[in-house]
């Protein structure tokens, strides 16, 4: 293919050389005058630098192509994992629905105002525990940064209020961040792994439970990233303990959400693009409750129910955090792939121009040599 190029250019050069000078000819063919500047006076020695930079460009284009393949693969893997995370949330629904139903039933049958369950005890707050949920791996855009910034902001707030604090860090990224900052007291480092199960949630719950019951802390707050949409995720702070006996989830501003309302996210396609839809469910609570006899004291029953609720809350937070991390990774890898293909295009153009310039140079050498002889 190069040979035919050469011959056609040979023909055109022969005709045009008679009309114009070689300089203008070259400038017409090559819109980039800069690399030609060097090639004209030192023709013999300039061939090798051009050749090596051609090779460098080709290597660069290959490496960009490989990088693009990797980022594209990572995006697809993240998309598949979001689906799995979604299934995990769906699998957890029967549990939380039944729990909420039972909680409602019991609250109806008891006067919960004077129930004294250790997990719901509201004490004057002197020390707060912050459970910070981060991811394990990087390459997910600003995901880990957002949640860590939120944690730092909350720590400053607490310091401003004169309250003591301790951190329970879940996730490798958070762990390494807090390890490098020994001035922040960290209670425990935990890791969630690729798919948070009841065991990991149990580990966090145990820690939180014992901290609260032994009265080492008076309030436990959960910092995780809420999964809003594929491009947007919000770090939120929820008050985990003390629990309200009715099972409401409250955030730090005191806005409470009923436990019966549940939000689920679904990965679907809309107009050919992957999107996430959130649906709000309200668990149907039976108007009449069957007369359930309590085997034990109602307080003991609540005592058994509330740790279950704690566990499921923590697990949901871990799952949502994982889903947001995967969504952030998907969008980060998608933009990385796009950037890689743009870079490849512009590099290929530069490469082609350089290649054509080199060929032109060779032709002109030959022509000049032929002219000199003739």
């Amino acid at each position: 293919m190069a040979c035919t190029n050469l011959t056609t250019m040979w023909v055109s050069s022969k005709t045009s050389l008679s009309d114009s000078s070689s300089w203008s000819f070259r400038s017409v063919l090559n819109p980039l005058p800069l690399p030609n500047h060097n090639s004209s006076p030192l023709r013999s020695s300039s061939v090798s630098p051009i050749q090596s930079s051609l090779r460098e460009l080709r290597d660069r284009i290959d490496s960009v192509k490989n990088t693009q393949k990797i980022t594209e693969a990572m995006k697809l893997v993240a998309a598949a994992k979001v689906r799995r995370a979604q299934e995990a949330v769906v699998n957890g629904r029967p549990f939380s629905e039944t729990l909420v139903e039972v909680l409602y039933n019991i609250n109806e049958q008891l006067q919960t105002d004077d129930i004294d369950v250790p997990l719901t005890k509201i004490r004057p707050v002197k020390k707060v525990a912050l459970v910070v949920v981060t991811g394990d791996r990087g390459l997910c855009g600003g995901f880990n940064n957002f949640i860590i910034k939120k944690a730092e902001a909350r720590i400053k707030e607490l310091q401003g209020l004169g309250l003591d604090y301790t951190v329970i860090s879940v996730g490798k990224k958070g762990n390494s961040y807090f390890l490098r900052r020994p001035y922040i007291p960290v209670d425990r480092y935990l890791e969630a792994g690729t798919l948070p199960t009841a065991k990991e949630a149990q580990a966090v719950a145990d820690d939180v439970f014992s901290l609260f019951i032994s009265e080492e802390v008076d309030k436990v707050e959960l910092l995780y990233t809420k999964f809003v949409s594929l491009v947007k995720s919000e770090p939120v702070i929820h008050t985990l303990l003390p629990l309200s006996p009715k099972g409401e989830i409250c955030d730090i501003n005191g806005n409470c959400v009923d436990a019966a309302e549940d939000e689920l996210f679904r990965l679907t396609t809309k107009e050919g693009k992957l999107t996430v839809e959130r649906e709000t469910f309200r668990t149907p609570t039976a108007d009449f409750s069957p007369i359930l006899q309590f085997e034990q004291d109602p307080v003991q029953i609540l005592d058994a129910l509330l740790p279950l609720y704690l566990n499921s809350q923590i697990l949901r937070a871990l799952q949502e955090s994982l889903a947001s991390e995967l969504a952030a990774r998907m969008s980060a890898m998608s933009s990385a792939s796009d950037n890689a293909s743009d870079l490849k295009k512009s590099l290929s153009m530069v490469y082609n121009r350089k290649r054509q310039a080199k060929i032109t140079g060779e032709i002109l050498e030959i022509v000049a040599g032929a002219n000199a002889q003739a």
């Binding site: 699998n91 039972v102 019991i106 009841a198 949630a201 014992s210 069957p290 007369i291 005592d303």
Partner: protein, 132 residues
């Protein structure tokens, strides 16, 4: 007349089918549930659940929770549940030894609470392997 048993953990449904009889460990002792049991609600302790299907008993380790027995429908909500066929004996024994060691070196109220819980769980898992 058979009982329908549902064992739910926060991240999956462990059991959802019909059984003939179950024996459940609660905070106030073990209770046996046969078809047409009166509806009750009870807290479930960290212990063993025995399920009978056609003269064959199956054991499951439960890590504490709640049980609601309705009209031939039993719903057990637990933090974690493991069938004894899913537990690795050596791993369970090791976990038990680690838990005992942790309890011995636990200092302070908080570590003792945690270590106690871990020990009870590990012990239940080993027991689940040993029964039947």
């Amino acid at each position: 007349m058979t009982l329908n048993l549902c064992v739910l953990t926060p991240n999956r449904i462990v059991w959802d089918s019909e059984v003939k009889e179950i024996i459940l460990s609660t905070n106030s002792g073990q209770i046996g549930v046969l078809p047409n049991h009166a509806p009750i609600a009870t807290a479930v302790d960290i212990g063993i659940l025995k399920i009978r299907l056609n003269n064959q008993w199956l054991t499951m380790a439960l890590m504490g929770g709640f049980a609601r027995i309705g009209n031939n429908e039993i719903t057990i909500l637990v933090n974690d549940a493991e069938k004894n066929s899913d537990i690795d004996p050596q791993e369970a024994q090791q976990t038990l030894e680690i838990a005992e060691a942790n309890l011995r070196k636990a200092e302070g109220k908080r570590q003792t609470i945690e270590a106690n819980l871990a020990l009870r769980r590990a012990r239940t898992r080993v027991e689940a392997l040993n029964t039947i």
